[in-house]
């Protein structure tokens, strides 16, 4: 029914592709930062000195990275070149790896 109404597009607007790529990178960064904080105590101390609590600094780092990368990718149209299906797959893969990485790290390390 949908195809009878209008031709379907497969292209995403610059802001969508930019922020999707930013979200995928931020998900992986979030897990890497959690590993680094857990493995290297001085980093926790530095982050705590910035905001009073290392977890709060972790949240802010994630938000700044997501917003910053999203705006940069939107402005430069860098993520537009990536196929929409690959971008969706990259986001799902990044979230799955990041989530599994967190659970396995805290279970075994």
């Amino acid at each position: 029914m949908r195809s009878a109404m209008a031709p379907e597009s497969e292209k995403l607007i610059a802001a969508t592709s930019g922020f999707v790529l930013a979200a995928a990178i931020t998900a992986l960064f979030n897990t890497a930062l959690a590993w680094a904080r857990d493995a290297y105590a001085p980093l926790n101390g530095i982050m705590k000195s910035l905001t009073g609590n290392s977890w709060t600094a972790h949240c802010l780092a994630d938000l700044v990275l997501f917003g910053g990368l999203g705006l940069i990718f939107t402005k430069t149209r860098a993520a537009e070149k990536i196929d929409a299906s690959r971008l969706t797959g990259a986001l799902i893969g990044a979230v799955a790896i990041a989530a599994l990485g967190l659970a396995l790290w805290f279970a075994f390390v």
């Binding site: 209008a6 031709p7 949240c59 986001l91 989530a99 967190l102």
Partner: protein, 161 residues
Amino acid sequence: MNISTSDVVLLAHAGFGVTGCLAALWVFLEALNAQPGNAARIRTAALVTAFSMAAAWICGGYWYVHFYPPDRALILQGPWPFAHNLVMETKEHLFLITGILAFLLPVVAREKLHLNAAARKLVLSVAALIVITGLAVEGAGAVIEHGAKVALLRGGSKGAQ
């Protein structure tokens, strides 16, 4: 009745989290049958998801920073230390991914979903990831709560003996 600030903040955190998950599920179901007629509803539901998750993040963060340390000490001395070492440590970082996905949803929901199959798949994927990770985080909250409960109950029963 004695309801403390800690109780209110903790229940608000869980309540906003569930609302965010339900709103993401609403987006998922609407996007399955995306039409020009439900585009506004999809965008509204995506915004509800983002606002609910932001509120859950703020309430959860406030509770974690101000009220969790005594619970953590209790859990670590009890029979379920993994409720903190594994479950809370994973939850407090996994939730940040759910939050980022919730902020992403209104951005991707701006696409013309009824005319764009790729955008539709993307919205379905982001909404599903929010529901899955959100429910995992909700379940983790229940395990942490139970970790504190068994520490109190078994500690209390030891004291009674």
